[in-house]
């Protein structure tokens, strides 16, 4: 199986990954800044990401910077935060047209790298901090973003499940932090957060597209020179807590004015990306609830007609398996018992070699499809950077192939229910579907 060649270099804390390819009509550049997830930092880093993407010293207002991006054929520039396991990641992404497809042929990619570097290293700030008004604007915008999770019930139920399940563990912190932490940010504290990020984060730069390794290294040397990023050694990866602190599973029920109940179940697997049984866990999850041929889809949806969606997914860097289903309130107990029965069936080895082959085919397809998008390809590579492993796509594919019936069955023994969360309608106002 042919996969895209990657070149990786290290300069200090900065890893530079270059993927030369002519498959796309654009070139993609991604900067990832990772730091251990901490309650006191998450909100600051979120506001910081948004403040950084608004302007630079050369383009000091949103309007000036956006006009510049439009002139560069709609170069896209985004900054966001997310968590992967117990890492908090600031992700700054740029995508720019390959000038080969344009009437004028001003070289665009180097300009994009330069702009991205200046976003990070020449922000519109002085030693006293970032601009007061910009900081206030972005604090308000983040608070609205955090509040809007409440209005998306699937996301809300997932956030609540994680808060209850992982209370006391860093993983319970949302990537945006919380409202109080956002309120406490000021331009000066934001600036010290910025300095700490430059001095301590693990930094990965990805350049994918119609580029050569040598020119990329030249650009990095030129536009990132003298920065703190080139100093220091590797950051020690956080080691997340993998086992439950509970003796028996907890049940949480919440009521809101909703039409549909959201049933979310959180399990501990004890297995994270890079572990030897990680691929068996992937196959297990695929059989259990990962695909339309899985036990959850077939039994909760197709046989019992209880749900439109019933699925499971993995938090790969934290060792969690999450089941979710949207159901009528009165079907809570039936849905739960069907879900428990499916897990029991998995533990009992109630699946065939054919089911396994089908699931492996789907997993391999999913992986290969991911490599077709620049963003997906970079994300896969970043898994390695975060766990300091070095799995190639080819190794990944053969590792899936190598998983045996017994290995999948054994996964069932490791999986433990931790928390059941149910969001249901308010009594009296409940809409019962007939």
């Amino acid at each position: 199986m042919e996969t895209m060649p990657i070149k990786t270099d290290h300069v200090g804390r900065m890893n530079i990954h270059v993927f030369p390819t002519r498959t796309y009509k654009t070139n993609t550049i991604v900067l990832q800044l990772a730091s251990p997830l901490k309650e006191e930092d998450a909100s600051k880093r979120s506001v910081l990401a948004n403040v950084l993407k608004t302007s630079t010293k050369d383009y000091p207002t949103r309007q000036a910077l956006q006009e510049r991006l439009e002139d560069l054929y709609g170069m896209s520039l985004s900054a966001d935060v997310y968590k992967k396991g117990e890492w908090h990641i600031i992700s700054i992404r740029a995508e720019i047209a390959n000038e080969k497809y344009l009437r004028d042929t001003e070289p665009l990619t180097e300009t994009a790298v330069q702009l991205l570097a200046s976003l990070l290293l020449q922000p519109n700030a002085d030693e006293s901090g970032f601009d007061e008004a910009v900081t206030a604007d972005e604090k308000r915008a983040l608070k609205q973003k955090l509040a809007s999770i409440y209005d998306d019930k699937m996301r809300y139920a997932n956030k609540r499940l994680i808060e209850e399940m992982c209370g006391g563990e860093p993983f319970s912190v949302h990537a945006y932090g919380n409202e109080t932490a956002i309120d406490n940010i000021d331009p000066a504290s934001l600036y010290s957060c910025y300095r700490e990020m430059l001095q301590n984060d693990q930094f990965d730069l990805y350049i994918l597209g119609d580029v050569a390794e040598e020119e990329c290294m030249r650009w990095v040397d030129h536009y990132f020179k003298d920065s703190d990023l080139l100093q220091g050694g590797h950051v020690k990866p956080p080691r997340p807590q993998l086992v439950s602190s509970r003796n028996k599973p907890q049940e949480i029920t919440e009521q809101q004015e909703v039409q549909q109940g959201k049933l979310h179940l959180g399990y501990r697997t004890g297995i994270v990306y890079g572990d030897s049984d990680y691929f068996a866990l992937q196959v297990f999850n695929g059989l259990f609830g990962g695909f339309p041929h899985s036990k959850l889809f077939m039994n909760v949806r197709e046989k019992a007609s209880l749900a439109y969606y019933a699925a499971s997914r993995l938090e790969t860097h934290k060792g969690l398996l999450i089941v979710m289903a949207g159901i009528a309130f009165e079907d809570e107990n039936e849905a739960k018992s069907i879900i428990h029965a499916q897990l029991d069936a998995m533990r009992a080895g109630d699946f065939t070699e054919d089911d396994i082959a089908q699931t492996k085919a789907m997993l391999k397809n999913q992986l290969l499809e991911m490599t077709d998008s620049p963003r997906g390809r970079i994300e896969l590579e970043y898994y390695n950077a975060l766990s300091q492993t070095d799995l190639t796509i080819t190794e990944w594919l053969s590792a899936i192939d190598a998983v045996s019936f017994d290995e999948i069955k054994q996964i069932g023994e490791k999986i433990q229910l931790d928390t059941v969360y149910f969001l249901r309608g308010k009594d009296g106002s409940a809409h019962e579907s007939s």
Partner: protein, 434 residues
């Protein structure tokens, strides 16, 4: 088979119309591992009133039936088609829009088998009373899920405010009540009327060899017989007034952050072909100038706390209806609605040559970016094809649009407040109760 070369974007599109009327498009993409295929019928939620095949009588079928039919197509006598696809390493799906129903798969292996499966299952209806009844529970939960989604409610509230008679205002999935009326016979009637090959397009993009693939498709289609298909008689004229039905709509839902959308109704949506594409692109350019991130208006609204990153705008031009829409989350949605309407009606002098040039560059770059996506190409190509327009004309049309063209479109589309509806989603109980 005909090959059409698009030099500027370096793509070659292969096309053939088969003797049974099916139009096939094949687009090889070098470097891609994935193949993405859509098999689409020009039949969507707005096609409620029509003459069934070989009948002189006009009937009206229950709301939500096109979407219901889409769900039921996945079942055949041997069972679930998802299974067949996943055994062949493909992930399959489908969607129903106002005007189309598309069946699709993506896979990195077994392309020939998957194309056969796609053609075969869509061309072989199998409905029983029992499976139709069972689906009502699943779709009922899908409808409940959308009922809890404030963005979805906002969008359909907006359409309901804009349209007096046109079925675009009817929810694509129908209601729990309307789907309960659907019978097996209704499904066969709709199927026979709208799923004739001459009303469908097959689009395959990715890792394909056009010569061998077209041969396989020809053989597959030759082996099947279809009755002669007279032109479909469906209701096209809904006596829809030019102006909106209601200037404002309010939906009370327990949201934390209110939402505001403005819709601008096109008074006379009669365009098709290149003219449709020109018009749609011109409206997009106007919206970029009016509300894009580089505009002083965006900056003002953002600083005043009236908008955040959720602010969006879009335009949709289809057979028989067209509208543009803009808005997002806002703590002061009524104030935002007024401001947005004012801006839309006053922005004409801001549409200057230099603004236009910059936005054209932006749009061209963004279009190149979308060409990295097989999903975008297949679905958008088909959508335009059904409106007699060509997706790959986008760049030349953008390059040729001049200031007078865009100003003319502005005058046509943004006529007065009588073309505009504001839809607000807000928690009234909280407002009243304090």
């Amino acid at each position: 088979m005909k090959a059409v070369e698009f030099q500027q974007i370096n793509e070659t599109l292969y096309t053939e119309t088969l003797p049974n009327g099916l139009t096939v498009y094949l687009l090889p993409k070098n470097g891609f591992k994935k193949t993405f295929a859509t098999f689409t019928t020009k039949y969507g939620s707005i096609d409620r009133t029509f003459q069934p095949l070989n009948s002189a009588e006009t009937i009206t079928v229950p709301d939500g039936i096109a979407h219901f039919l889409e769900h039921k197509m996945f079942e055949d006598e041997e069972g679930d088609v998802f299974h067949t696809f996943s055994k062949q390493g493909a992930s399959a799906n489908a969607f129903t829009s106002f005007t189309n129903t598309a069946y699709l798969f993506s896979s990195t292996t077994n392309v020939s088998e998957n194309v056969q499966t796609l053609l075969d299952f869509v061309q072989k209806p199998y409905f029983t009373d029992e499976t139709v009844e069972k689906e009502k529970g699943i779709i009922g939960q899908e409808i409940n899920m959308y009922d809890d989604n404030p963005d979805w409610r906002n969008f359909f509230g907006l359409l309901n405010g804009m349209y007096e008679n046109h079925p675009v205002a009817v929810d694509i999935a129908g209601t729990v009540e309307s789907i309960n009326e659907i019978s097996k016979d209704d499904l066969y009637t709709c199927y026979e009327t709208f799923y004739h090959p001459s009303n469908m397009v097959l689009f395959i993009v990715g890792a394909v060899d056009p010569d061998s693939l077209i041969e396989e498709i020809r053989t597959n289609q030759q082996e099947k017989t279809f009755p002669p298909a007279p032109a479909i008689q469906r209701q096209e004229d809904f006596a829809e007034p030019e102006k909106v039905k209601q200037r404002s709509v309010e939906i009370s839902m327990p949201v934390q952050t209110p939402k505001c959308l403005i819709g601008v109704k096109e008074a006379s949506p009669v365009l098709s072909g290149k003219a449709l594409l020109q018009y749609e692109l011109a409206v997009e350019l106007i919206l970029e100038i009016a509300f894009g991130e580089s505009s002083p208006r965006y900056q003002e609204l953002f600083e005043e706390g009236l908008i955040d990153d959720s602010f969006e705008f879009d335009v949709e031009y289809e057979r028989g209806f067209a509208f543009s829409v803009f808005g997002g989350e806002s703590p002061r949605p009524y104030e935002l609605a007024e401001r947005l309407k004012q801006i839309a009606l006053a922005v004409r002098p801001e549409i200057t040559q230099s603004e236009l040039n910059r936005m054209k560059k932006k749009k061209i770059g963004e279009f190149l970016k979308s060409l990295n996506s097989p999903e975008f190409i297949a679905t958008q190509f088909t959508r335009y094809r059904f409106n007699d327009a060509e997706l790959f004309d986008v760049i030349p049309i953008l390059e040729d649009l001049n200031l007078e063209d865009v100003q003319r479109v502005y005058d046509e589309h943004f006529r007065s407040e009588e073309q505009m509806t504001a839809c607000i989603v807000i928690n009234k109980e909280e407002e009243n109760g304090g």
